[in-house]
Structure formats: structure tokens, C-alpha cells
Symmetry: C2
Subunit: 295 residues, 2 copies
Amino acid sequence: MLRVGFIGLGIMGLPMAKNLLKAGFEMVLFNRTRSKAAALQEMGAVVANTPADVAGLCDVVITIVTDTPDVETILLGENGILEGGHSKLIVVDMSTISPIATQKFATTLAEKGIKLLDAPVSGGDIGAQKGTLTIMVGGDKAAYETCLPIFQVLGKRITHVGPSGSGQMVKMCNQILCAVNMLAVCESLSLAKKTGLDLEAMLNVVIAGAGGSWALENLGTKIVKGELEPAFMIKLIQKDLRLVLETAQKNQLPIPATALAHQFFAALEATGEGELGTQAMIKVYERLANFKMNG
Amino acid sequence: MLRVGFIGLGIMGLPMAKNLLKAGFEMVLFNRTRSKAAALQEMGAVVANTPADVAGLCDVVITIVTDTPDVETILLGENGILEGGHSKLIVVDMSTISPIATQKFATTLAEKGIKLLDAPVSGGDIGAQKGTLTIMVGGDKAAYETCLPIFQVLGKRITHVGPSGSGQMVKMCNQILCAVNMLAVCESLSLAKKTGLDLEAMLNVVIAGAGGSWALENLGTKIVKGELEPAFMIKLIQKDLRLVLETAQKNQLPIPATALAHQFFAALEATGEGELGTQAMIKVYERLANFKMNG
């Protein structure tokens, strides 16, 4: 069985690492805040002092951290994976980061024979806990197949989508859908509220029809109940949307609806509400049009 | 069994009337273009000379025509339903028209004891043919219950959503979702194409995740195949979006994403493409960013 390294025990990484341990993988962990590894250490995981140490001890190292510079530090920085890694190592970066940077990292690691897969996920912390994440993987196909038993513990819908960077690109496309579908949900529910409709009856009808979406079914329902806690946090989708807009611009593609969603989320960051869930976009409409969804 | 009148044998009305005949209802028809009634006449339907005649002969009269003025003429015009109707008549308007006009029509008809339900549908011509429409009904609850056996022949998801005009309002909310979800689909697929992703692999991943929607699954797939024939025609959603924007404005609600979708559809009307399906919105992005989805 593969010995698996795991770097980044955040809201996503911690339950994912736990699922791998439960599935019987030997694991070596590294996290900047070492205390987060304690529970997993009790379950039998080894805790290493640096990413380089993790890389030296494992067949596969998974990284899942916040942003492009964090991944760069872990991969290429002092005491990083490039420094400690061997020629048969596969690194699986499950963070959501720049596809262009991903391709550069892959090229650098390849000089030492290390393979990098980009494998961002969708499905939130609940998907991480339940092992039902959607995983979109870019990079070497043989390395993907080696890692498949790991992915099958972490997720349900696992797809190799193309060469290095493709996983990140598909994730960008996914985030466009999430952001713009939220505009649709908020405008629809705002009109329903403003015109005095019974919101539950309205949702019941439209969810099942040609206007239906994951966002409507899951987050529209939360909006009606006044539940704005994060399934996915505004400040995290904003990081992703900055990558999306940058990538679109480099490809000379105008994406005005995505840009609008990004601006509305920015308005919520400006009022200190960036740690609410993306469905809190409804607050922008409430303020623009002076109404309250609840009450 | 109820004797059912039916006015408006268009792309939606004709298969709906046929389904009611097959289900055993006695039917009386009226259509401006009389020849369209011929096939149904052979199946046993009676063809009347005016809407007033239909109203005099039936318990329930269904109307399904294009726009608010058409409904007004049928209901309140010369030889119309008000003129020929009796005090126990129920009129079911299944067109998509102004919710405010609907409320006025209901008030006028009520002077003669006639009840008006607004019962717009979602699900397109295929839903009409298969009897799987979603039907959202506003108006008197007892009249709704009387008509339920009719609705159950025509559709699958049938909901009484509130007082007169509510059915039309829910339909407006539905059209917001359809229009803005299409922006999401087009921006996502445009980025995928511009960055060289395998579009089928990309769709396969994102359809099942948090970015998923009816629009993505049904119309995104058509875009990738280059199929732009109408499931729902641009010039018809434009009529609905004009009602949506007017209703939002009267309620002092800005809906910028819906307005953007409306403008992009207007661009396609300007190039003579208003009879394509709503998924032809992708052409706007192709022109803006100088690329082709296919080839």
C-alpha cells in the first residue's frame, strides 16, 4: 500500500487525511500549526518536521493549502518537497491555485523526476468529511492511475481531465458556474420576496424545472431560512474568482456576469462579511433595494 | 366529467389539447387560424366560432396564447369570454403574461362570477407533448381543485402558489433563473474552450458538482455539440424578460444580471437570430472574444 504524505490540515485537509488514515494508508503529516496534527497522530500518523522530510518518507504527497504562494513555498521553498523528494515521488496538489503557476511547478519538479498532479476538489467541507468530493485531475495519466486508490477514498466523481494545469482550469470553470448561479438565485428570490410570494411554494416549483440548479436547491433554501453561515466562504471564492478573471483576461475573454458576482462579493468583504457563505450575496440585493428576506 | 374549452393551438397548446382529448375530456376549441383545429376535430373535438361560444358551452376554458394583449382580447374583447361566459365558469390562463394585468382581468371577470386562474407552465414543447409540464397556479383554491384533474393530464409538478397573479410571478422568478444560469453556462464553456480544455471531460465533472444546473446539463451539452435549435426560443424569453424587468422596476428592485442576459439576447435579435434557442447566447461570447466553440 502506498505511503501517503499529507500537508495542510485545514477545514478541508483535516477530514480528508482522517479518511485516508481510516482507509488504512500509512501516513506522514506536516502542518504549519503542529497542534492540528495531534488527533491524527493518536490514530497512528507520523508527524514530520518539514515538507522535505514528508517527501523523503512517502510515495505520494498530497498538498491542500490556501493559495499559490503557499503551494510554491511547500514545493520549491527551503526544506520543501523538491529538496527532499526522490525520483519516484508523485505530488498531488489539491489546493485551488493558478493553472499557469501549476504548469511551472510541474516543470521544475520534473527536473528531479518528481511528478505533479493538480487535483482540486469541489464539494466543500461536508464533501471532505463524507468522502464525496468531486476531484478534477490534470497531469500524467500513469501517475493519476497510481493515485486512484487514494482519490477513491476522498471523493466520488473522479475524472482525469487532461495535462498539467487542466484540473485547475476545470475548477475555474466550476467557480464561474457557482458565482453566476448565485446571482440567478439572489435575483429570483429577491423578486419573489419583493412581490410577496410564498417563498417555499415558489422554491418548490422552480427547483424542479428548467431554472433548477445545485445552488438554488442547496443555497436558495438556506437564504429563505436566513442561514448565511458558510458552505463555501466568500473570501475563498473571491480568491478563486481573482484567478478566474486573471485567466480570462490573459485569454482575452470578457466574462461580465462573473465580474459582477466578484464585485458583489467584494461589497460584502467591504462590510466585514467575507467570512459568511456565498449565499450571503442576498444581502447586497437587500441593501440595494431596501428589503429583508426574513421578516 | 368537465367539459373543457381550449383557446390557442400553438406550439404548446396543440399538444396539450390533444392530451386532454386522449384523456377523455369533451372539448370545445377556438383558434384564430381555424385550420389548426382540424386534426383535433377528427379526434372528436367541437370547433366554435368565437371565444364567447366556447365560454357558453364549457365548465372550464383554458387559454394559452402569446402575450398580454392577446389574452385581454380573448377575455374582454368583442365575442370574448366575459361576453359569453356563465357564473360558474372557470378560466385557466396558461400563457405567460403580466401578473399585474392578470389581477385586473380576474377582477373584471369576477363581476360576472367568472373565476380566473393564472397557470403558466415550464418545460417547453417537449413537456407539452409528454404531459410533463411544471404548472404554477395562482387564484382561487377551490377553482384550482376543480381543475386539478385537467392539470394532472398536462403536467407532472403542479403547485398552487397563492392568490391571483402568483402563478405569473413564480414564472417570472423561473425565467430569471433560466436567463442568468445561461450566462453562467456560456462564461464557463467559453473559458474552457479558450484555454483548450476537453469540453466533454469538463462538462462531465462540473455537471455533477456545486456548479450544476438544468441549463448546464441540457443546454450546455447542446452548445458543445453545436446544436442551437430552440428548446426555448430567444424571442420568447425576451418577451418574458421584458415583463420581469418591468415588474422588478415597479418593485424598485435592480436585477443587473438578468438585465445583462436580456441585453445579450437583444444582440442576437439584432443579428436576426431571435428564433434560435436561448443557448445561442454562446454566439455573443464567440463574437466578443473572437473564437468558435466548434472547430
